[in-house]
């Protein structure tokens, strides 16, 4: 454990991006402080569509709401929904993959055929259909992307479990009477977890973009909740008169995705030195 800690601390890239990611998380937690108590949903029609100024650093939107406050508060929606999404697909995918790999037979067949079905299918099409048909909300957007994203984790977990399934130490543990639950928890899970955590970490950025894309299409967070994707959609109609309405939310997505992608890549380098 001691050695592992040093590995994290001595990796400069990882520390820098971990720090930046922490900054974003802190910004979303302390949003009211950063915005000096400006309410992101509180509009003032007298101040609608104002260019960036000292009072409104990022300008205001058509309802006169402060875009800076909306971008900062928007990080809450984005971060919470992205992390819920990644954790959901991580847990479901790992669980089903371990079951499929450990038990084999019909359990494996059923789980993996369903996974194949999801993979043999262009992801965003189904996600849009799910989100649209279930009704537009952040929760349904998360469900929609989970439905099409878990198979990747299940396949990975399954292949990792299959690798150790027929080794001697597993057979020995079974012979000495370890219960199935104990086998899964103590032997199978630890052998898959590192690779899966790396995958999850590198997925954060792209998942954030997919959620934003759904919101942009109107199938995610609903007004007046500040969310970057839906802010871009609102800004689209005022492109020539108020370009700031679409520049800052987009920049926020871009910067956040870059930071989390870098963090994921560095994490992979630390935990899995084999890959480049």
């Amino acid at each position: 454990m001691e050695k592992k800690k040093n590995k994290f601390l001595s990796n400069k890239g990882f520390m820098i991006f971990a720090f930046l990611a922490l900054l974003i998380i802190l910004a979303s937690v302390f949003a009211p402080l950063i915005c000096h108590g400006v309410d992101p949903t509180d509009g003032d029609l007298a101040n609608s569509i104002m260019a960036p100024s000292r009072e409104h650093p990022f300008g205001t939107d058509k309802m006169g709401r402060d875009i800076f406050a909306r971008v900062i508060y928007g990080s809450r929606t984005s971060l919470v929904s992205t992390f819920s999404l990644v954790i959901t697909i991580f847990v479901i995918g790992t669980f089903l993959g371990i079951l499929a790999g450990y038990f084999g037979g019909w359990v494996d067949a059923v789980i993996m055929r369903i996974a194949d079905m999801m993979i043999a299918f262009p992801g965003l099409v189904l996600a849009i259909a799910v989100a649209g048909l279930l009704g537009a909300s952040t929760k349904n957007a998360i469900i929609a992307i989970s439905v099409v994203s878990w198979p990747k984790y299940a396949r990975l977990a399954r292949s990792l479990v299959m690798k150790i399934r027929h080794t001697d130490f597993v057979a020995a543990a079974q012979v000495t009477g370890s219960k199935t639950g104990y086998m899964l928890w103590k032997y199978m899970l630890p052998n898959t977890i590192t690779t899966l955590v790396i995958t999850a970490a590198t997925d954060i950025g792209s998942m954030m973009m997919e959620l934003a894309a759904l919101s942009f299409l109107g199938f995610g967070a609903q007004a007046p909740t500040p969310e970057w994707g839906s802010m871009l959609n609102e800004g689209r109609n005022f492109m020539s008169s108020a370009p700031w309405m679409m520049i800052y939310p987009g920049l926020a997505i871009f910067i956040t995705v870059v930071i989390f992608n870098m963090l994921g890549d560095n994490l992979r380098d630390i935990l899995d030195p084999k890959t480049e």
């Binding site: 079905m117 992801g123 048909l133 995705v257």
Partner: protein
Amino acid sequence: MGKKQLASRLLQMLIVLIGISFLTFLLTYLSPGDPVRHMYLAQGRMPDEAMVAQQREEMGLNDPFLQQYVRWLGNCLKGDFGKSYSLNKPVVSLLSARLWPTLKLTLMSMALMLIISVPLGVLSAVYRNKPIDYIVRAITFFGVSIPNFWVGLLLILYFCVKLRLLPVVSSGGSFKDLILPAVTLAIAMSAKYTRQVRTAVLEELSSDYVVGARARGVKEGKILWGNVFPNSLLPLITMLGLSIGSLLGGTSVVEVIFSYPGLGKLAVDAITSADYFLVQGYVLWVSVLYMVVNLLVDLSYNYIDPRMRLRR
């Protein structure tokens, strides 16, 4: 791929298709809206209870779920995907009218992607860990981190609003209308693909026959384009097939931004107006298309890789 493999592959496709059709139907069945009410509202009529009840009975919406599903699937197999009530036209004619614009956009962005990413990927593999490699890697890194709908908006802002070079709303007819949507799609894909080209070429470059060829004094250019590149084609074609698939679904966002009259825009509009038959038809069509493309990609291995033919 032998005949036997092909047969089992087709059977698999059939099973997946049935699964997908079941899932789509289940989703529309479970969705909170009432299609009959939406239909009346789309026609601009205020539905009253008696009318709704009668129409529901006529459309068979009160039948058990499985019965409805089997009837719908049977109609689909006969080529009848129902009628879109928001546009008041058969789903088949709507989808087929939009198919070509989306295919055109897909092909155009694929072509752009290949033009950008193959040279960049090869270049950065050959000059590994040199400045050029770092630059290419930095560009691809930003390329995968930038949301394509934002790229699209920025392109519109610059080329249509500021410079007034290109039309903001594309009718999908002319070449000019295709440029910006295709560029938008190509940027994110090129970034991913460049990385994959680089990895594939690097892997080939490190194999023994390259060392041998160099030792015999074969020219570097000949090794690269005569041996290394053809050998790294196989994984690249697989990925190309996969990206066609993700494009078919992924165009919707870009189509919405540019008001491009393709399948994706149609689907988003259909969902917004709760046009269930249209959504179901769209999902089925795209999945069939996707599977056919993947099958063709697998079949193409036979021609690209002679080993595949020998193995039979």
